[in-house]
């Protein structure tokens, strides 16, 4: 069930959540977990784990794969749209976890007091049993923060379960767009393509990738999703992102960039049409000692995929002739007034908070 609600009113009746309910996500995850992970390409040796020597045992839940396949940039041999773009439109979602933990995607939210109290969390076990860090460079899987920024990130991470100031609340909980890169591991999303554009419809926010005009907006225009100018190189959509307001975080672990960040994203699509890797290099000298690279594996979802209320919130369309067509409902978020959201009034007044109360529900 969503703790991040879907309707921007006081009315606690999420549109998409209604769909998710009918799909029984937990059952769906179990089904997904029962399916052997069959990456079409060889597994990448994770920077912080040695998962390649193990079978890709589904971790269950949102993060059901533990490895990141290698997909090389190269020629595109799949189908194309009339304008020549590789046809990669459709529904996609990441395979290794949500935004609970950026560098340990299957490691849960650090310092979860509820888990500690109830003792219901299984011990995590060795790090190499879980998916690698989303930071694929530097090789240690950690973000190369400058000391002041590392301290701030740590403070934000600790504040997640002890929110005392409005800025302790993760903006996504307030329905803010998930930003870059978090949009790519916050539920499934859809890509639509048009001559001159690639359009991303995320669970929280949208992005228009301009393929024709390479000129960014004036630098003083800062945006949650940034300004994206892209082009295709074979199987790879290369997108230059600037104008980020850097208000969005990377996850519930407090990672952030500054508004001077510049991102070069590569969406490297496997010609088998089932997977792509998001490989983005961030340059932000204000907060980091060197550029770093984020890698997020993603898999295509279709009407033939097993039901899944987190990765694929897409019902079948109502057709008179029995065609199986995915239906895409509106995605409209409304600030929730409890759980992770903390509530507008509560957060604004920075009163006591207990965000952990809904952790089990997430």
């Amino acid at each position: 069930m969503h703790t991040h609600t879907w309707i921007n009113s006081a009315r606690p009746r999420p549109v998409i959540a209604a769909v998710a309910l009918t799909i029984a996500p937990l059952i769906a995850w179990a089904q997904e977990a029962a399916q052997p992970a069959t990456p079409a390409v060889a597994a990448l040796t994770p920077s912080t784990a040695q998962a390649t020597s193990r079978p890709a045992r589904p971790a269950g839940g949102i993060g059901y794969e533990k490895t990141v396949p290698v997909i090389e940039s190269g020629k595109w041999s799949g189908k194309r749209l009339p304008d020549g773009q590789p046809d990669i439109a459709g529904d996609w979602s990441n395979t290794i976890g949500n935004h609970n933990n950026f560098t340990d995607p299957q490691g849960g939210i650090p310092n979860d007091p509820q888990a500690a109290r109830s003792g219901n969390r299984r011990p995590l076990g060795p790090r190499e049993d879980r998916a690698p860090s989303r930071v694929s460079d530097p090789p240690d899987g950690q973000l190369p923060y400058l000391p002041w920024a590392r301290a701030e990130q740590q403070a934000l991470q600790h504040a997640f379960f002890d929110q005392t100031k409005p800025e302790d609340v993760e903006p996504l909980s307030r329905c803010a767009p998930a930003g870059i890169p978090m949009s790519f591991y916050w539920h499934g999303y859809e890509i639509r393509q048009y001559p001159g554009y690639v359009l991303f419809l995320f669970n929280s926010g949208w992005r228009i990738i301009h393929l024709v005009d390479p000129n960014h907006l004036p630098a003083n225009i800062k945006l949650w999703q940034g300004d994206s100018r892209g082009h295709w190189e074979g199987n790879t959509l290369v997108v230059d992102v600037s104008n980020l307001n850097s208000k969005a975080r990377f996850g519930r672990t407090g990672e952030f960039t500054t508004p001077n960040v510049h991102v070069v994203e590569k969406f490297i699509f496997d010609p088998d049409d089932q997977r792509y890797n998001y490989v983005a290099t961030f340059t932000d000298p204000d907060a980091f000692s060197r550029p770093f690279t984020v890698t997020i594996p993603a898999k295509r979802w279709t009407v033939d995929s097993p039901p899944n209320g987190w990765h694929y919130e897409v019902p079948l369309a109502n057709t008179a002739d029995g065609r199986k067509i995915p239906d895409h409902f509106e995605r409209i978020c409304v600030e929730n007034n409890g759980g992770f959201g903390q509530g507008e009034a509560k957060a604004a007044t920075a009163s006591t908070a207990s965000p952990g109360s809904n952790v089990a529900g997430k």
Partner: protein, 274 residues
Amino acid sequence: MNSTVHKNAARHWKSAVGLVAVAYLLGATTLLAADAGAGKIPRFANGKPDFSGIWQTTSLADYDLEPHAGREDAPPGVGIVEEGEIPYTPQALAKKQKLFAARESADPRLKCWTLGTPRGIYYPEPFQIFQRADDLTIVFEFGDSVRTIHTNNTLHPVETDHEFWLGDSRGHWEGDTLVVDVRDFNDQTWLSRAGDFHDEALHVVERWKFVDSNTIDYRATLEDPGVYSKPWNIEVYLYRHREKGFQLIENFCYTHDYDQYYPYPQPPSASNVH
């Protein structure tokens, strides 16, 4: 010297004659095209009109759908309701008047909530249409609203209580007119700043048609038996943005309330970037 001037003048005169001739020919061509009707409008690969582009109304509909004199919060306007006034039931009219009185604090647009259908179309902020054979995607600059008009011969969902903000939109083509049936709304959106409202039973039928390649005639019929005594109609023109460099810019305006808390933190030496 004089002769030079004369020569130039003569040359100009010749040019002018040429221009007139060209203009005449162009005019004739334009007339012929106009005679040919919709032949000049952009068309999609499947022959249907192609509404791709960034659009915006110049009408003042969002201030008030009905005829009204200028007032502090609205310029005057003749309204866009074909029947003149919205046929509210007596009870609904009383509610509308209450909402009108509270409009400066109660209008959902002030919170940047999704404007709904049809309000998003005539709200004075641009939207971009992305068109494929199977759907038209409307990305509204205001808020975080994306509306899909399905043109893939699918029906409204079997379940009818999703209570969408924008409604469920199923479209089909009648000649060069896109006809869209929109149902399954919530009752949270207003139709204008003047407190015009609807409830969950709202049913909208839109008709989108090119007037010329840069102008869309947008008509909608609204019916909602609990609120209106009979169906009523609106019409606005939508104009294509053609200014150099014009583009849709995200405006997730519901974040403005808490923008002040982010970004956080900032480098010790950074100036305030808010």
